[in-house]
């Protein structure tokens, strides 16, 4: 592969990676980390039969908590600045 083609491939890969980084993380890393954590915990609790019913409630509640934390992060920053 010529150097020009290699550079083009690298540029496309970098662009693709940047798009997904910006799309999923961007300026709200707490939402990305929070979602991974919430889904991880939900996956573990759903494996335990007696906790499966609880996960149905825990999942939406955790999502709402994540949203509140992220919103309040901005509120706090705006009020302190």
């Amino acid at each position: 592969m010529s150097e020009t083609k290699q550079a083009l491939v690298i540029r496309i890969i970098k662009g693709f990676a940047f798009f997904w980084w910006d799309f999923l993380v961007g300026d709200t890393p707490e939402l990305f980390v929070g979602t991974v954590l919430v889904l991880g915990i939900a996956a573990m609790t759903s494996l335990l039969g007696h906790l499966r019913v609880l996960t149905v409630i825990v999942l939406p509640v955790s999502v709402l908590l994540m949203l509140l934390v992220s919103v309040l992060r901005v509120v706090r920053a705006k009020r302190s600045s």
């Binding site: 799309f23 709200t28 939402l31 996956a43 759903s46 949203l67 919103v71 309040l72 901005v74």
Partner: protein, 251 residues
């Protein structure tokens, strides 16, 4: 009962895809109109055509590939992506409604893009082509991700694609008529609605991926929409009235 629930979830899918597509397409249209008016309509439209071709190629490659992933894993991954994406939209819409960040102003975007273009050095047509291509490709990529994820996870890729097609035609037609009056589109209200729907879908499909038994199966989707809408409205109301107390109490 099951038929009603399925119709209800299809309606939620159509509304979510349609509004998400309209929001992204209006953003892309703003850039294209700014490029066309200040530089060259021909180059701007060439940029649009190449961007649409590139997006079509991406869909052709990644669309069928989605069908090879096991449904449970696909729903969990897609649910996660929808959750993150939806939460980002919803958070921004709540903060805008409560007055904590400035509302998205298409007129400002138009003016900024036009100002940047009129100051840009170099080949005139090339600049117009690249700016137009980038605008349409990046906003279009978000549309593609939304359509593929929502469509594939609900086995309604055809319905989701058709809805996106209708949105594209509608935005293009309205754009051709109103051209610069894009700020009249109630962007934040649409973003709020889409955010609520994406978060609802994200929660629902993540749960399905984890093999959770949602009460009422598909009927749970509109219920989730209602819960998230209610909480969002409540948070906005609290933030508008007393930000300090809300801040302390909600954490």
């Amino acid at each position: 009962m099951i038929a009603t629930a399925t119709t209800g979830s299809n309606l939620v899918l159509v509304v979510a895809v349609f509004l998400a597509c309209v929001v992204e397409m209006v953003e892309a249209l703003t850039i294209v109109v700014a490029v066309g008016k200040t530089r060259s309509w021909r180059s701007a439209l060439e940029g649009v055509a190449v961007a649409i071709a590139a997006l079509t190629l991406l869909v052709a490659i990644f669309g069928p590939a989605l069908a090879t992933i096991p449904l449970g894993s696909l729903r969990l991954i897609i649910g996660g992506i929808l959750l993150i994406f939806g939460l980002q939209w919803l958070r921004k819409a709540i903060l805008r409604s409560a007055g904590y960040i400035a509302k998205h102003d298409e007129d400002v975007i138009f003016a900024n893009t036009a100002a940047q273009l009129s100051n840009a050095a170099g080949n005139r047509d090339r600049v117009a082509f690249i700016v137009s291509f980038k605008g349409v490709f990046l906003e279009g990529l978000e549309v593609v991700v939304t359509v593929l994820t929502l469509g594939a996870s609900s086995h309604q890729l055809g319905l989701a694609s058709a809805t996106a097609g209708v949105a594209l035609v509608l935005v293009a037609a309205v754009g051709a008529i109103v051209a610069r009056q894009l700020s009249n589109v109630p962007e934040n209200a649409m973003k709020m609605t889409v955010g609520i729907m994406l978060v609802s879908y994200g929660t629902f499909w993540s749960g399905e991926g984890l093999k959770l038994a949602w009460p009422g199966n598909n009927a749970m989707l509109p219920i989730l929409v209602g819960i998230y809408a209610l909480v969002s409205w409540f948070v906005i109301a609290l933030l508008k009235h007393d930000p300090v107390e809300v801040h302390e109490a909600s954490l």
